[in-house]
Amino acid sequence: MIHKQPFIWLGAILFLALVFSVALGAVYIQPATVIGILVDQLPRVEFPKDWPDSFAAIILKVRLPHTILIAITGAALAGSGAAYQGLFRNPLADPYIIGVASGAGLGAVTVMTFNWPRDLLGYYWIPLGAFVGALITIAAVYSLARIGRIVPLTTLILSGVAIGTFTSALTSFLMLNSNDRIYRALSFLLGGASMSGWQPVMASLPYMVVGVVMLVFSGHYLNVLQFGEEQAKQLGLSVERAKFFVIVTASLTTAVAVSFSGVIGFIGLIVPHLARMIWGADYRRLIPLSILGGSSALLLADVLARIIIAPQTLPVGIVTALAGAPFFLWILRRAKSEVFW
């Protein structure tokens, strides 16, 4: 059943995950009330109000922006993961594992250290810094990992780990040198989507819209690139241009994900992999499906993170790592005999 109408199914799951995420928290608010509060916000709609004002404030000022930021982050991670996997023709390429997420994190933290955002304009600079960090990292990882015309699995992961560790260390160094902001930056690094309020959401949105449109346009390029660069050229693709487009796109979406939520691992690995197993390898479908699925998956992980040790909240990165690391090892073992890749 889920094979036939993936967009409807994933859309429904995403909707439920969104409602759950808004409803859950220290104060439980019934889903019906959540929907009432949201509908009440629409212009010219008068909804019979039967909730205290504090509920509306919790929903609109705290949970809704948090939920949207998490949804954007999950979508960006899974979308860029699918693109990197297609680009490197490698099931283990994910923004976290190949070090791009750490590079983007360094870019974001650098911008924050020199110019802590005071207004919305300040927030807009952060994804840009992350984007530059991601591009530099991917260029370094790619040139280190490449042997002749191919990018083997082992060198890709090794150079990803090396560069990722290096940029993480630089990030820590920057953080330790900016005392008053240490707490903020540290929780950022732990991947808790700790930036709150509407400003991070508003600052992410324009980058995200551009990133998603570009990701969807990458689908056909990635399909042709699956035959290898040589055959792609013989089939008529402008290979260099296509690769450049995909790298810029995936780095931009990684930057969006990392900017306000820190480095969250494994969503970009697991979601595209599952989508490929269930719905096949056509990247024109795989990418939008990964975007929907990534959004839902991170929302659900975030819900878990909020209820496991309630009333405290776990950084969502810990939940994705706990679930993702075993999955990563499973793929690593399977990859040798992978027929559907």
Binding site: K233, Q234, L235, G236, G280, D282, R284
Partner: protein, 257 residues
């Protein structure tokens, strides 16, 4: 008319091809032969725009291929690469449709004529029944036919094949070459095919070009090129040519050393 003139290609300091000139007419199969490392694959990769040409020209009906984009080249010239694993997760139909890349827009949407071309190519190569199967599930012979179908779907007047019968059993070798022979005639294609098996060359090729160490040693009709002297010089192996067998072209028999 497909015309390679004075083609020279080098990898760094080593010259892989030196001053090679070859012509292939429509409806004709030209077999490219020569020992390992003679430059057969290099020639196919250079002509298809994958590696850089140092000097010389590749022209199709007077048009210099160096002056066209990848997309335009892929509408003129299709390539069947040496056997290698195909993207395993694609279905056969998806793979063949991607042969239409040069005809599609940048979203990769298949128009009715793209689907028609893909289905025509699949029926020509006898793989229509495999359309929904994934490449990873196919045998070597089936994958080779998928690659041929993908190149046919490009609907180009010229086809380049790089040792397409490697890894195929006898039945599939003969079926494949017979199919290529038919396509040359029916679709009036100009076909340049690198081959190892000299008897298959003798059976299927209209003309032969013999490459040795990057240079064209001989070219012409099979009987002119496949001589005991030429083959000894090229392969450092004594052969005997046996002709007059009923229903067979001249047969090449290597001698034991």
């Amino acid at each position: 008319m497909f015309e390679i003139t004075s083609l020279t290609v080098s990898y760094g300091a080593t010259t892989a091809l030196r001053d090679v000139s070859i012509r292939v007419s429509s409806g004709e199969i030209l077999a490219l032969i020569g020992p390992n490392g003679a430059g057969k694959s290099t020639l196919i990769r250079a002509v298809s725009g994958v590696i850089k040409i140092d000097s010389g020209q590749v022209r199709v009906d007077g048009l210099d291929l160096a002056s066209v984009s990848n997309g335009e080249r892929a509408r003129i010239l299709g390539v069947v690469p040496q056997a290698q694993p195909l993207g395993g997760a694609f279905t056969v139909e998806q793979t063949v449709l991607l042969g239409r890349t040069a005809h599609m827009n940048w979203l990769g949407q298949a128009r009715p004529e793209d689907r028609q071309a893909a289905h025509w190519a699949m029926s020509k190569t006898g793989i229509e029944h495999l359309a929904g199967r994934r490449n990873a599930e196919l045998s070597g012979g089936e994958q080779q036919r998928v690659l041929l179908a993908r190149a046919l779907a490009q609907q180009t007047p010229i086809l380049l094949l790089d040792e397409p019968t490697n890894h195929l059993d006898l039945q599939h070798q003969i079926n494949f070459l017979t199919l290529v022979r038919e396509l040359a005639g029916q679709e009036n294609l100009a076909i340049l095919m690198a081959l190892h098996d000299l008897n298959q060359v003798s059976m299927y090729a209209d003309r032969v070009a013999l490459l040795v160490a990057g240079e064209l040693m001989a070219s012409g009709a099979p009987v002119e090129v496949l001589t005991e002297e030429n083959l000894h010089t090229a392969y450092h192996t004594r052969v005997q040519i046996v002709s007059g067998l009923e229903g067979y072209p001249p047969v090449i028999l290597p001698r034991r050393v």
